[in-house]
């Protein structure tokens, strides 16, 4: 008889596995304080500093009743996680969410209007672009806790090879085209510019042309305005007329980030988050403001906001912590240590970066404009992106495409 040992091996292995993972409870040492759950999406380095800040806040005599427990959730999936947790009452007291998520939470009545705590007294201290991503129907439902924007990255080595001064990046769109033409060498496969074609990455174009995409009351889509059409025409011409853009937006093409690291694209839009990565890759690069258009230099805004949920029994201490966390001193320390942009205007006077490139982003944020605020930003992207692509590939004129997009946005997105 041939004996089969494999099931036994599996069985024993399974028993070991069961023994190793049986215990699924972790005891948290109780301190007698009321616990406030804070769901965040910070990475390791940020989390370490966050815990320091929390410890400082808890040490203040006024906060002796509260203990904040930071809980990390994955950024990919933080939206469904928060939605589902809130529906069954397992949500946190407050959370850090993507800037585009605040509107949905506010309109679905999930988070607290900060005016309850007198937010208008301190709202001036925040940079307007990130702050206004929290302004829904005239009220503030969250406060910015981290912000970014994109600026123009350029490869100094390619500038030198083309006999351009690497310390003089283009300042206006006209200069930009002129410079990029000198940097483009389609035979060698190097291009002056590589761009993405999603709405968020196109906002710098719209903003430098002074185009507003959604009206203040959130009822009308202004994508078909004259300024927006001009901005998109200009963007499309970089690829189709001036031939200085590599087509990096096409599916399967080399992405702007990858093309920049490998010296294929001389200039790209990118945010400060990739600065350490590019520095580690020994690339000789610089950062400049987005070239100025009719409305001057401007950019988009990214980052996260912090909201307090209505289901929280203790919203007040949550608010106190968030204001402490975004206060000028803490922000200055946080940003200096982690090379990030402060959300608090007053922090600008307290510190400066040694890295000139980071300083450029600080400058850029002052002129950044808040993004379009809609209930489902993903849906807005889904509607607008194909229309923009049709313009670049020459299937539609910018006016046609944006008129079409505007109607669709009003029917599908603004009606939510």
């Amino acid at each position: 008889m041939n004996k089969n040992y494999l099931p036994w091996i599996f069985g024993i292995f399974y028993l070991f596995l069961l023994a190793a993972t049986w215990n699924d409870r972790v005891d948290v040492n109780a301190s007698g304080r009321t616990i406030l759950q804070f769901w965040h999406t910070y990475n390791d380095d940020e989390e370490k500093l966050l815990k320091e800040v929390i410890a400082e806040w808890e040490a203040q005599p006024a906060n002796s009743n509260w203990a904040i427990r930071p809980i990390r959730i994955p950024f990919d999936g933080h939206k469904p996680k928060i939605r589902t947790a809130l529906t069954v009452g397992l949500g946190p007291d407050f959370a850090r969410v993507d800037w585009s998520f605040v509107c949905e939470l506010a309109r679905k009545n999930a988070c607290v209007d900060l005016e309850t705590f007198g937010f208008s007294k301190i709202s001036d201290q925040y940079l307007s672009a990130p702050l206004n991503t929290n302004r829904i129907d005239g009220k503030y439902y969250g406060l910015p806790d981290q912000t970014t924007c994109v600026a123009l990255f350029y490869n100094k080595t390619i500038f030198r090879d083309a006999n351009l001064d690497p310390e003089k990046p283009p300042k206006t769109w006209d200069e930009f085209i002129e410079t990029a033409k000198k940097l483009t060498n389609s035979e060698k496969g190097t291009y002056g510019f590589g761009m993405d074609n999603t709405l968020w990455w196109t906002l710098p174009f719209f903003n430098t042309f002074g185009a507003k995409l959604i009206s203040d009351d959130g009822k009308k889509c202004l994508l078909d305005s004259e300024a927006a059409v001009k901005a998109l025409e200009f963007k499309a011409s970089l690829f189709s007329v001036h031939k200085i853009e590599a087509g990096a937006w096409r599916a399967g093409a080399i992405s702007p980030e990858s093309g920049f690291v490998n010296g294929r694209y001389a200039m790209i839009f990118m945010g400060p988050w990739n600065l350490p990565k590019f520095t580690n890759s020994k690339l000789d690069f610089g950062v400049a403001l987005i070239p100025a258009g009719p409305a001057g230099s401007s950019s988009n805004v990214g980052g996260t906001n912090a909201v307090i949920f209505k289901s929280s029994k203790n919203p007040r201490p949550c608010y106190d912590f968030l204001t402490f966390f975004t206060s000028a001193e803490i922000q200055a320390r946080w940003c200096k240590r982690l090379n990030q942009m402060p959300v608090n205007r007053k922090s600008y006077d307290l510190f400066s970066f040694d890295d000139k490139n980071l300083q450029v982003f600080m400058e850029q944020l002052k002129t950044s404009v808040s993004n379009p605020i809609v209930t489902s930003y993903e849906m807005l992207e889904d509607v607008v992106n194909p229309e923009m692509e049709a313009v670049i590939t020459g299937q539609k004129t910018a006016a046609d495409a944006l008129g079409n997009a505007s109607r669709k946005v009003e029917a599908k997105v603004l009606s939510l």
Partner: protein, 446 residues
């Protein structure tokens, strides 16, 4: 005849050249990978990850604090037999950041140099071994070619071509996995860089094991303050074991329940069997996403949120499994069961002695499919995970923790992915044997 033999020689030379190129390329990469693993393991085991040294460097003194002693300790080991050359290179690497001013990358670069230098030292060995492999292969092929009779050489060439084409296919299939392995050894910031001189050379020249150490939380120096229990448990080995338990339990139970139900639907009489089965099949029309929210409500009402049971409990009833097994079991002849009944077999014996062994291949297929489903079931496991308790985090969810809003730490994701493919590969290798065994069972009567 003359012409065709000349053509054969030409084809042979071309194929041999292709083989040498291929084997040199492949074995070169494999040996380089081996030398990389060796040098990174031995050189950088004590060094904390580069990202952690960045704040220390940016605060003014590039070589201040903790990293310095470990570098000093490593240098003599790394330099080894050629002290003058090694020392010179190290000094050159060290002085570059100083010339540019104290950049954050400075200290990280000095840290990496030990492994890089050692790898550079091993490079001739790796290349030599690769050349040796190609030479041996070439000699082998040449001997066979000479030993083959002239009229059989056409067939020889065909086989040769077939083997070469198959090797190419293997390379294409395994390349992504090799790339993943290589990326997991790359330091942060260099994951996307392509080697300009040779785009197929994907093994990093500056290897680091920091990614693996960080993923497993082994990167804390021994003297560091002991963190609390929760932080310590938040590592990939916990997630891995959790996922293994969830996926294997679910796969076993689904296979068990489906085989019982499939047996009843295939071989037993029961009133309205056809309608019942049709009703069951009807539920397959509804997309699985629709069940998610109700299932989540039920799980949270039961108070199971964050437990391992919640990860698979709603998925234990698998209509697809019942359907698949029923279709298979219907092909088992009923006379077998009758014969067993006459011999006095009980119902349980019928099931366990006749039905289960005969359906082994299909049971294993279902087991594998269910295992895979639970191994990578991100969304459901995400919403039932209690993130306050790292013991409830599973692998797909743990992997997602490495991705940020705009940046992903590719090195970390890749090194974590290396762990996640292991059980699947092992299962497939074991099951494949049984699969074929089951398929051929009873095919031949002797």
């Amino acid at each position: 005849m003359e012409q065709s033999s000349a053509f054969r020689v030409a084809a042979f030379v071309a194929l041999t050249a292709g083989m040498v190129l291929l084997s040199f390329g492949i074995s070169g990469q494999i040996f380089k990978f081996g030398s990389m693993v060796l040098s990174s393991m031995t050189a950088s085991s004590e060094i904390s990850s580069p990202t952690e040294s960045v704040p220390a460097g940016s605060s003014g003194m590039p070589a201040a604090g903790d990293p310095t002693p470990s570098v000093g300790g490593e240098t003599p080991v790394a330099v080894g037999s050629t002290p003058s050359v090694g020392g010179g290179t190290l000094a050159a690497v060290g002085s570059k950041p100083l010339a540019d001013g104290p950049t954050p990358a400075g200290s990280a670069m000095v840290l990496k140099s030990a492994a890089t230098l050692r790898m550079a030292g091993l490079a001739p060995l790796a290349n030599g071994l690769a050349a040796l492999v190609s030479l041996i292969l070439m000699a082998f092929v040449l001997r066979r070619w000479i030993a083959t009779q002239a009229d059989l050489r056409g067939r020889f060439l065909k086989t040769f071509f077939l083997y070469e084409a198959l090797s190419m296919a293997v390379v294409v299939v395994l390349f992504p996995f090799f790339w993943m392995l290589c990326t997991s050894f790359k330091p942060s910031g260099q994951e996307l860089i392509i080697n300009e001189a040779n785009p197929f050379d994907i093994v990093p020249n500056e290897p680091t094991t920091a990614n693996f150490l960080k993923v497993l939380k082994w990167d804390k120096p021994a003297g560091a303050p002991v963190e609390d229990e929760i932080e310590r448990k938040k590592n990939f080995s916990t997630y891995f074991l959790n996922s293994l338990l969830v996926a294997s339990t679910a796969a076993f139970l689904v296979t068990l329940f489906s085989s019982m139900a499939g047996y009843v639907f295939a071989k037993k009489e029961l009133p309205y069997k056809g309608y019942l089965f049709a009703l069951l099949m009807g539920t397959m029309m509804i997309p699985g996403m629709m069940y998610m929210v109700p299932q989540f409500f039920m799980i949270s009402k039961m108070g199971l949120c964050g437990s391992k049971l919640a990860m698979f409990l709603p998925h234990l009833a698998s209509v697809f499994g019942v359907f698949m097994l029923k279709q298979f079991m219907e092909t088992i002849p009923g006379s077998l069961l009758e014969a067993a009944r006459i011999d006095g077999a009980s119902e349980w014996q019928l099931f366990s002695i006749i039905i289960v062994p005969l359906s082994m291949p299909i049971l294993l297929t279902l087991f594998l499919l269910t295992f895979l489903f639970h191994w990578s079931n991100f969304l459901w496991q995400l919403i039932v995970t209690d993130f306050a308790n790292p013991l409830s985090i599973t692998l797909p969810v743990g992997l997602a923790l490495f991705r940020g809003q705009y940046t992903s730490d590719l090195g970390l994701i890749m090194s974590a992915s290396c762990f996640s493919i292991v059980p699947i590969a092992v299962l497939f290798m074991i099951a494949q044997r049984y699969f074929i065994e089951g398929m051929t069972q009873g095919a031949v009567k002797e």
